[in-house]
């Protein structure tokens, strides 16, 4: 009997135990679970699971990334995100007036940002893949090296969120728009985790905040 671990939220499926409350009897083999079975905690696809003990063995050395951190070279959208981050910082310090000034700057830079030329799902998917393959491993290596616990925390959350994005894009490719029929799309406002369901999870499977921290994405699909 083997165990399988969710790469997004860390949920463990134990073949020996099954999930009796969901009608999966103890002893149900991984292969016997239906293909559209999803992680009961975060909704990640079956393919996002890996067999327990098999993950760490094939770790590649982290590629070296040398991206400049000069603020003068930031794109308008990056400047906008820096401003919304600083606005959040002001809110936490109970400075609503200063937060509003940062939001004003953020909105200006968002509108000044040129729209993507021929936006393409394939390009989105490949950037996500690149983050998982290169971006996160090298940032994690740098943060571990520097013993930077704060950075490691942010990376742990973002990497999980990136994996759920990948999982959802894959699912959409297979199922099309039907996957959103009669169901809601929710985003955790703290870590960015995305959940498809009738209601947001009681606690965020990535950052553990309560459900009221989730925003529902409105509009038609």
């Amino acid at each position: 009997m083997a165990k399988y671990v969710c790469s997004v939220c860390g949920y463990v499926y134990d073949e020996a135990k099954g999930i009796p409350e969901a009608g999966i009897a103890p002893g149900t083999k991984w292969e016997e679970l239906p293909e559209d079975w999803a992680c009961p905690l975060c909704g990640a696809a079956k393919s996002d699971f890996s067999k327990s003990g098999e993950v760490s063995s094939e770790r590649k050395p982290a590629p070296v990334i040398n991206e400049s951190a000069d603020i003068k070279e930031m794109s308008p959208l990056e400047v906008s995100a820096l401003c919304t981050n600083l606005a959040r910082g002001c809110e936490k310090q109970y400075k609503p007036y200063e937060a509003a000034r940062f939001i004003e700057l953020a909105e200006y830079f968002k509108s000044a940002s040129a729209p993507a030329v021929k936006p393409d799902v394939g390009e989105l998917a490949s950037l996500i893949e690149k983050d998982i393959e290169e971006g996160f491993p090298s940032a994690n290596a740098a943060a571990s090296e520097a013993n930077d616990r704060g950075a490691l925390r942010a990376l742990a959350w973002s990497e999980k969120v990136t994996r759920i994005q990948k999982s959802l894009l894959t699912r959409r490719q297979k199922e099309g728009d039907a996957m959103f029929n009669n169901t809601g799309v929710y985003v955790c406002t703290i870590c960015g985790f995305i959940y498809i369901g009738d209601a947001p999870p009681k606690t965020c499977p990535v950052c553990k905040v309560p459900d009221w921290k989730f925003d529902k994405i409105e509009g038609r699909d």
């Binding site: 794109s75 200063e98 200006y108 950037l127 690149k130 983050d131 971006g135 090298s138 950075a151």
Partner: protein
């Protein structure tokens, strides 16, 4: 708890209102639930008393930004660039999933950029960032005023403003007390000079006493201590009540113990007169909207005030003829 002040999270506030009962300065009694920073002394009693944990004590000065290594900054920045690009692509695609991905990427970017050295809006990094926005040749429509205002705010930290504001207020009230005291002192000296026939010195003392009155009144006004007449009458009731109920009884006892009969008499007269004054202020407050003219008669010996000319003063016994009409 020096260097902190109380803030209320309105979302958590369950209106048990314990903060109203424990605040020593009335900083929490605002209708809009924002605790009055100017009145908050930072004692923390409200935060301790609040049953719903809605009040936090926040520092006036924030610590420095934690330092980040260049490699950590560079690798995090690479992710910031990638996530921003993804936000941009998602923004151009139709459908709820892409709205969610757009938002999700923004949240990740914020979180990563914060860990790349932009935690605190008042940090040197954040100020350099604002300065770079101002220095850069920005297209029209750039809200330069917002960036400049933020930079200015974070350059003169809030504590300095609040501190110097409080210090000036204290100075104004100290100057008010000093000038008021000088006025009374010079008036006493002028009387003495008149008795001695030193009329020139007496005139100077009178003029100087009036000058100190001008100063005192201005300081008091600038300190913002003059309210509506109804408020001022209330303040009059409170001040006189304190004097006759708490201050003078102690002084009278002390004068009795030490056998200082002159002090005992002046304190006793004043104590009784202040009680009358408190009553008159309350009466005036109750009838503030009445237009019928009222006259007041002042006893020139003990300071008693009556609303009708008495046969003799009920406090010191001086003849009613001596009373001064107002």
């Amino acid at each position: 708890m020096a260097g902190k002040y109380a803030v209320r999270n309105i979302r958590l506030c369950t209106k048990d209102c314990l903060c109203l009962y424990v605040c020593p300065t009335g900083a929490t009694d605002t209708e809009n639930s924002i605790i009055d920073v100017a009145k908050c002394t930072g004692c923390g009693d409200c935060a301790d008393a609040c049953p719903s944990g809605a009040i936090s004590m926040v520092p006036k000065e924030y610590p420095k930004q934690q330092s980040k290594t260049q490699t950590v900054k560079n690798t995090l920045n690479a992710l910031v660039k990638s996530k921003s690009k993804q936000e941009n692509i998602a923004a151009g695609l139709n459908g709820k999933l892409y709205r969610a991905i757009e938002k999700s990427n923004r949240i990740m970017t914020e979180d990563i950029i914060r860990e790349a050295g932009y935690m605190l809006p008042q940090s040197e990094n954040a100020k350099d960032f604002l300065q770079s926005l101002i220095d850069k040749n920005q297209p029209e429509g750039f809200p330069k005023a917002a960036a400049e205002e933020l930079l200015k705010t974070f350059n003169n930290s809030e504590e300095n403003n609040v501190m110097s504001e409080n210090k000036t207020l204290k100075n104004l009230m100290a100057a008010f007390t000093g000038e008021a005291e000088a006025n009374r002192k010079y008036t006493a000296y002028a009387k003495k000079a008149e008795q001695e026939g030193k009329t020139n010195a007496a005139k100077l003392f009178r003029a100087a006493a009036d000058a100190e009155t001008l100063h005192a009144l201005k300081h008091f006004e600038v300190a913002g201590k003059i309210g509506s007449t109804a408020d001022n009458l209330k303040d009059g009731v409170a001040g006189e009540t304190y004097e006759y109920k708490e201050m003078y009884p102690d002084f009278v006892e002390e004068a009795k113990t030490t056998g200082n009969k002159a002090a005992l008499m002046t304190f006793t007269f004043a104590m009784k007169a202040e009680e009358v004054h408190a009553g008159l202020y309350q009466d005036a407050l109750d009838n503030i909207d009445k237009t019928e003219e009222v006259f007041y008669y002042l006893c020139p010996v003990c300071g008693n005030i009556e609303k009708f000319r008495p046969e003799k003063c009920s406090i010191c016994g001086v003849s009613g003829e001596k009373f001064i009409k107002y």
